[in-house]
């Protein structure tokens, strides 16, 4: 019954999406105040409620492990802890797509409820576009990946969930990424709405900005969580593998970063109109490309739940329809959008444009590197593209971008002179130079980490310079957001560079009782014991690790064996200090009774994720700042109207 309710709600939600789309677009042609326009907002709101209901039903099915439902039987197991039963709801293709449309329809409902800044026609066109996008995903769900399908005969027991995915990180990683993707779909709808009505105005940018900011914050969090998950769960000691699936989340982030900045320019300076629209289309395209790559089974990874060419084709068709349609509309309309305000090359707009272009170039490089193996495969040549390509080629554009990022916020809008900020420029240049000489000549660090360290140090200081000479209490929250986010980038950059420059690795085979060294640590293997968890057994290494002769800490890396489904995983053990992490993995027993240990000492590696969190915090601060300003402005506007009507009544 529960499954049927969920299924029915899904169909109804799809019908409402069709209504929302039709009424939204028809209202464009209808006369002012026509009845059809009155349908748009309510249908978005009801659609959001129905989709949420449908998702709640699926959650319920997973919570009670209803094995008559195919999806539950294939992905869950009655012995699994409840939290993993619930997170298993979106740990599979169908469930994750349902989560996607749920978040998307909730976003649509939210716009319909609260957004009042834009002209009605633009608003209707925006919601119409949102309905169209949602309808495509409903069709995808209902026609090719119905999560509520029943089994003819209920399964006696579920097949379980991939143990790699039985992790608390998974409970948060996909939902955060999806919120990011969906936020970008909202930006896309805004861009289409503005194009249809030719209303590319600062108001449009201010209405779109919170969505872009929100999407960007969620994407940042999703990438940070995914990176940390890969770091400790895969047991390979790396934090970024340039895996296509990772790239699939990085590309929308790069586009969203560019979009975020150009939206700000449009909102406050009324410049970069066409560019902002273009980025809005590109950012959502990247989300779709990411979804396509991950869901089509074209790639193999833990993220590709099932290889199903039909689904891949479906997403590809959706991608072609949405993106092709939007680009066509863009090509037809871009010319009719008048040019915004002009600015000099040496101005904050100039710096932002430069970095927008650099971000786009990096995006192009990541996209080409990700698609290249697929291209060559068409010619039956199998290649993989990894760090030797991405790191140096990306750096060519990233290095100037970080330099401009340090300087840009110091410049004035529209027009400025370099001489005015000479002291700040000299400070930045001096810091970078000293770091280059110090690390390059004294510590003999390789070129890429060296550049990362130097720019990271310079940028960390420069990111606070926009606050100089200002009363800190009166600095707007949005400016704090920028400062914190830029500082976060510097911190993450330092972490990456330090990890790459100063990591120490040790691979050893030792008997219990023996000690080995890695960097400043000496690690003793005390014992190896069998342990058991709810659905696994493991061999656990008992290590005691001492940093530079200090009090030893205990580490317990495991080699786990799950039985539903049967699989082995390595559980790394980490010891975190303020200045880095010790990372330990235990391997097999060699025939002579020694145990393999793989140890890494990674100085300041944690800065990577702390930096990422700071970036997200900066985005959140800016978002809150913008929303507060907006609410305040609305209240003042309401009060003015009130007074005017009072006065008129008096008169």
């Amino acid at each position: 019954m529960i499954a049927e309710l969920g299924h029915a709600a899904l169909w109804l939600a799809a019908a409402l999406a069709a209504l929302q789309m039709a009424s939204g677009f028809l209202a464009l042609r209808a006369a002012e105040g026509s009845e059809i326009a009155a349908l748009v907002r309510p249908s978005a709101i009801v659609q959001g409620a129905l989709a949420s209901f449908s998702f709640a039903m699926l959650l319920w099915l997973f919570a009670v492990t209803d094995l008559s439902v195919k999806l539950v039987a294939a992905n869950s197991h009655s012995l699994k802890p409840l939290v993993f039963k619930l997170s298993g709801t979106w740990g599979n293709h169908e469930g994750s797509m349902l989560l996607w449309v749920t978040v998307m329809s909730l976003a649509g409902a939210l716009i319909a409820l609260i957004e009042r800044r834009l002209p009605d026609r633009t608003m209707n066109a925006t919601l119409g576009a949102q309905g169209l996008v949602a309808l495509g995903f409903y069709a995808f769900l209902i026609l090719s990946s119905n999560p509520f399908e029943r089994l003819p005969v209920p399964a006696p027991e579920g097949l379980g969930l991939n143990p790699l995915l039985q992790d608390i990180g998974l409970a948060f990683h996909p939902p955060t990424l999806y919120m990011g993707y969906v936020g970008l779909s909202v930006a896309f709808s805004f861009a289409v709405g503005a194009l249809l009505t030719r209303q590319v105005t600062p108001d449009f940018a201010s209405a779109m900005r919170p969505w872009v900011l929100g999407a960007w914050v969620f994407l940042t969090l999703g990438i940070v969580a995914g990176s940390y998950w890969a770091y400790y769960e895969l047991g390979w000691g790396g934090w970024w593998f340039w895996d296509p699936v990772e790239n699939a989340s990085l590309m929308p982030w790069l586009a969203a970063t560019a979009l975020l900045h150009s939206t700000s320019v449009l909102a406050s300076r009324d410049a970069l109109r066409v560019w902002t629209i273009m980025l809005g289309v590109v950012a959502f395209s990247m989300s779709m490309v990411g979804t396509f790559l991950v869901r089509s089974g074209i790639l193999t990874s833990v993220h590709a739940f099932a290889v199903d060419p039909e689904r891949g084709t479906f997403i590809l068709i959706l991608l072609g329809l949405f993106i092709g349609g939007a680009l066509l509309l863009f090509a037809l309309r871009a010319n009719t959008i008048s040019e915004g305000q002009r600015f000099n090359a040496t101005s904050r707009e100039g710096a932002l444009v430069f970095n927008n272009v650099m971000l786009s170039a990096i995006l192009a490089i990541v996209l080409l590197g990700t698609l290249y193996p697929l291209l060559t495969e068409a010619f039956d040549v199998r290649v993989s593209v990894g760090p030797p390509y991405f790191n140096p080629v990306g750096a060519i554009f990233a290095v100037p971008m970080f330099a401009i990022m340090a300087i840009g916020p110091l410049l004035r809008w529209r027009q400025d002179r370099v001489e005015r900020i000479r002291p700040e420029l000299s400070l930045f240049a001096a810091l970078v130079l000293v770091a280059l000489i110090g690390f390059g000549i004294v510590a003999n660090v390789a070129i890429l980490p060296l550049l990362g360290l130097a720019l990271g140090i310079g940028l960390a200081v420069a990111s606070f310079l926009p606050l100089r000479g200002r009363s800190l209490k009166r600095v707007p929250l949005a400016t704090w957001g920028m400062v914190v986010a830029h500082f976060g980038i510097a911190v993450a950059l330092l972490g990456m560079a330090s990890e790459s420059a100063f990591s120490r690795e040790k691979l050893a085979a030792i008997e219990p009782g023996q000690t080995t060294q890695v960097g400043p640590w000496s690690v003793t293997l005390s014992d190896v014991v069998p342990v058991a968890g709810p659905n696994w057994t493991a061999l656990e290494g008992r290590l005691s690790a001492s940093y530079d002769g200090s009090e030893p800490v205990a580490l317990t890396p495991q080699s786990r064996r799950f039985w539903a489904p049967p699989q082995q995983t390595t559980e790394s053990a980490l010891s975190t200090r303020w200045n880095g992490q010790l990372y330990a993995v235990i391997g097999d027993r060699s025939p002579d009774g020694r145990w393999q240990l793989r140890l890494w000492w990674k100085p300041f590696v944690t800065l990577i994720w702390y930096g990422g969190l700071l970036v997200a915090l900066g985005g959140a601060l800016a978002l809150v700042g913008r929303v507060i300003t907006d609410v305040r402005r609305r209240r003042i506007a309401a009060r003015i109207v009130e007074r005017r009507s009072d006065r008129e009544a008096l008169a």
Binding site: W275, V302, S360, Q568
Partner: protein
């Protein structure tokens, strides 16, 4: 908005937009060309054992080798961390592989493996990383290019209960 006296500069906004587009295009085309050039040099090519024997890559070039771990070939060096084994192809071709590190969880004789690394001068393939089947649903994509027999073997042992 422009004052009539500024008519002469009216063209300029259009001009600036054009400049921006040109700059963006140059940067993107530059990025594309750079990427194309770098990809040709840095892409990591995949070899089957028979391909590696017939037409070996240059010594030291990063490539990947995929095939079956030969039965009875797996041995551990006295240091306890260096594994030696042979990867076989479809036609009896055989490449010796050396790997220092912790082998992936499901790495056993007779299973499929993809080794990332480079060919040494003595004909041994020195692997930095081994990719074995990750779980019951995951087969390294490259193994799909193996013979029917091997595919059957791999799929049989790698898909459990999934229709």
């Amino acid at each position: 908005m422009n004052h009539p006296a500024h008519n002469g500069s009216r063209l300029k906004p259009k001009h600036q937009r054009l400049v921006l587009i040109v700059i963006a295009l140059i940067a993107l085309i530059g990025a594309g060309l750079l990427a194309a050039y770098a990809l040709r040099n840095q892409a990591n090519y995949f070899y089957l054992p028979e391909q590696m024997q017939a037409d070996p890559p240059e010594v030291g070039q990063a490539v990947r080798l995929g095939g079956m771990v030969e039965q009875g070939s797996l041995a551990t060096d006295p240091d306890g961390v260096t594994l030696r084994f042979a990867v076989t192809g479809n036609d009896g071709s055989r490449i010796p592989v050396q790997f220092s590190g912790i082998a992936p969880d499901l790495f056993v004789e007779g299973s499929g493996v993809v080794a990332e690394g480079r060919l040494a001068a003595d004909g041994t393939f020195v692997a930095d990383n081994l990719l074995a089947k990750h779980d019951e649903n995951y087969v390294p994509r490259e193994l799909e290019g193996m013979s029917q027999r091997q595919v059957a073997e791999v799929t049989e042992e790698t898909t459990v209960g999934i229709e």
